[in-house]
Symmetry: C3
Subunit: 352 residues, 3 copies
């Protein structure tokens, strides 16, 4: 956060219903209630931290309408309906200053094919490569050193971070964001054994990324063997996620960091996969399924909206129970040994 | 798939032994039997899907020689010995149009050292960097924005995708393919604790990648501490695989996505590691060993050709059995509690 | 290893206290005792390999002062206090020749903003992008194709490998090393559900990497939601590690390859995380905690200096014990079945 806001400026952004305290202050940082120093703005996002408000050293605090306390000297309370949402409005303003809209046009150091079609309002940053027949939509921004392969298609208002890579003939919808090092359209991993060697199966399909998808740094998405690998509208993919060829990810899914989805698997809409989890190939995962971190789906999930965990994944409650029981295994082994001994004694006794 | 094929063109490619139906058709897409629409070509790769042939809407179908049905109106059957192989021939033709042979030569935007030796038939694409004394073989293609470090050696007919990275003095054989974001020759991860700090152990070895290796997007292969990290001939490595320093991967191995091999470990030939699996450092894994997805090898495997799974990995059948038994743990605990109660009763009875 | 060393040159580097054998030799490679060939230098780093010295074919051997054997013909022993340290001195010399200090200055192909402040002794290699207001310290080296975003700050003596990426306003201390494909400062992964869609929570914080940190190839470190994601001084991070937004990694930690740390988690100083291990979000991990490979921390660790393993992670010894007991489950199930049968018999007997 590179910027500073006066209380007057903050008032214009969050439109508080009530103001208490010193309106002459200026803030230059955002911080959590407990970490804040003078010069910071903070907020009460969760009622359970209400007690921290009194002790907070923040200069400006965003608080809910029903907040009763009074500000300290050199402190200002802005009372709003939703302090989290108000903070987000301020963040959005800062975001604009962090990533100002670049000027439209192609940087002279970029290498752009004559047959590429680049919208007049688009920005192609320094040292980008745009190959033949590629299409880039209005207001789309290629930050720097981006690669756009032959015949690739990019919609409107997309943002491709420095070093991201969109391979030949792959397609992005509108408002798609690719972070640094993302590779879209690498070959699927397909080989056939021919005389003891792995012969490559041509991978001639594409990747289609629908609108409003965001893809984290260094994630990889392979092109289909033929046809399409698809990421559905509104899905959000975190860093270092791997999506294999012919996978279909539904709409509004969440794939956390380091997830891997093996080939030809389908995730229906609203699936959530926790960090480092995975799904085996050629399975179908029902709408709204949630997989805990490190969980591994190995078979179809047909019932929608359930939670799974463990490897191989099983219903979440069952897995939690097994974890508890496993930790009791030493006792169980002892108990069974004890039973065995007692039974031996009893057998002897009853044999007597 | 950007191209279209008439039946006449398809006949020239797959050389069918028999043709049934309408030879005037044209196809523009490849699709599975069940997904195909008019205008698509499809194929019967596995006899178990034979029933789908009748219902398929594909315009052209590649079928085995013994296929008995008749095409619908506006449909054409091409009967060939091996429909999968015939499809691969068509795919290979499309592949050529997706990635046409580039013109030989160095793009004017590339930065190439005067002391680098670049074969006359090689292509160095836009914005590549080739440092001093690097050697690039005949017909090798650096797509764009590729980095080739000082003294690195690349054989013939290699393909280095946009943004791939071959560090100083590392070596590629012939027909090696690196996908986007691959890093070959980053430093091995080696430190010694000196006065409470981690002092770097110099990593001065190289990475040697033998011929016919393909390496997936964003995979990383570290240079040896000294000597060589080796990937054997014909081995195929999927996206986001990590190979640590001094690892030796044998010939014709398969490492699926997100696999990690820790330092100084040796995989013998034909080892297969499933997705997200791993191997600890300083171990040796016998020829033909297979590790299931997410499996973790923690010790030497001396017997060749066996299958392992689980973490820590154990023989596959044992692991499967344990998974089943674990799910029966709640019953086992109950049963033991029951036994305990009954034994108490019995003890009382027999004490009476 | 591209260079050769005469015994005379080696003497100058390692200052041996005693020399035995042929001082006319030259070596061109470093190899382990058992692998060494004539022309190689080797060393006895661990007394348990003493027996291999006699059989080693190395031309020159670095040996401890108390070594008693005599060299073979055309072999030379250099006796030093610490053979490993002596080898490291030689390696450091080779390292300098592998990565010679580049000339200071900005390569003409780099695209550098006029408002960037680049120290006179720094090197900005070919095809780098340095955006407005970025600051680059003395002797820092951007190898090639590096991206430095607007307002980013880099200290002295840093090394950023080809293709590494430092996003806007993020900060590196002194002597920081980023390997190929590292992304520092991608957006944190934060969304709020609004009307069934994932609305982006602005990520306006930064990443601060303190001095003497090294980060492996293709690792990713996300900027904070607001405030800072921090990597403490002297911490070493291996390839493909993922550090989420608002994470604080302490000083002198070790994160091995493919580790993932979820959002807002704090690792205190000297934490060690094995390969493919992970930590859930919003937890605190006490100083000196060690996590075995593939371990998964899911809750706070308050006691310092303990070792954990398994998923979910538990104390190492307990996990080892459970692994052993799990493998004995088939026997346990049989034993319990046996007990059940015997008890049934006993009940009948005693009922009679």
């Amino acid at each position: 956060m590179d910027t500073s806001f006066t209380v007057t400026a903050l008032k214009a952004i969050v439109q508080p219903q009530q103001i208490r305290g010193d309106e002459s202050l200026t803030v230059t940082r955002i911080a959590a209630l407990g970490d804040a120093e003078p010069g910071d703005i903070s907020f009460l996002g969760n009622p359970k931290y209400r007690a921290q408000v009194t002790e907070s050293k923040a200069s400006v605090l965003l608080l809910p309408l029903d907040h009763e306390g009074e500000p300290a000297e050199r402190q200002c309370f802005l009372l709003v309906e939703n302090p989290s949402a108000a903070l987000a409005q301020i963040c959005a303003r800062i975001e604009q200053s962090l990533w100002p809209r670049p000027e439209a046009g192609v940087h002279p150091s970029a290498v752009v094919s004559e047959s590429a079609k680049i919208a007049a309002s688009a920005t192609v940053g320094p040292l980008c490569v745009v190959e033949a027949d590629a299409i880039i939509g209005e207001r789309t921004h290629l930050q720097a050193q981006v690669f756009v392969g032959r015949g690739a298609v990019i919609g409107q208002d997309c943002w491709l971070a420095a070093g991201s890579h969109l391979a030949t003939t792959c397609e992005l919808g509108d408002r798609v964001r690719l972070h640094g090092g993302v590779v879209v359209g690498s070959d699927g991993f397909g080989y056939e054994v021919v005389e003891g060697k792995h012969a490559k199966v041509p991978q001639i399909g594409i990747v289609v990324i629908e609108s409003d998808v965001e893809i984290g740094a260094n994630a990889t998405l392979d092109r289909a063997r033929f046809s399409r690998t698809v990421i559905g509208e509104g899905t959000k993919i975190d860093n270092q996620v791997q999506v294999a060829h012919n996978v279909v990810v539904g709409r509004h899914c969440i794939l956390c960091a380091q997830v891997g989805i093996a080939g030809s698997t389908t995730l229906e809409d609203y699936v959530v996969m926790g960090g480092q989890s995975g799904a085996a190939g050629h399975i179908r995962v029902a709408q709204g399924t949630q997989v805990a971190g490190r969980g591994g789906l190995t078979a179809n999930i047909s019932e929608p909206g359930k939670v799974y965990s463990g490897m191989p994944a099983m219903p979440y409650r069952m897995e939690r129970r097994l974890v508890v029981l496993q930790r009791r295994l030493p006792d169980l082994f002892k108990k069974v040994d004890g039973l065995f001994s007692e039974l031996e004694i009893l057998k002897k006794t009853s044999a007597d």
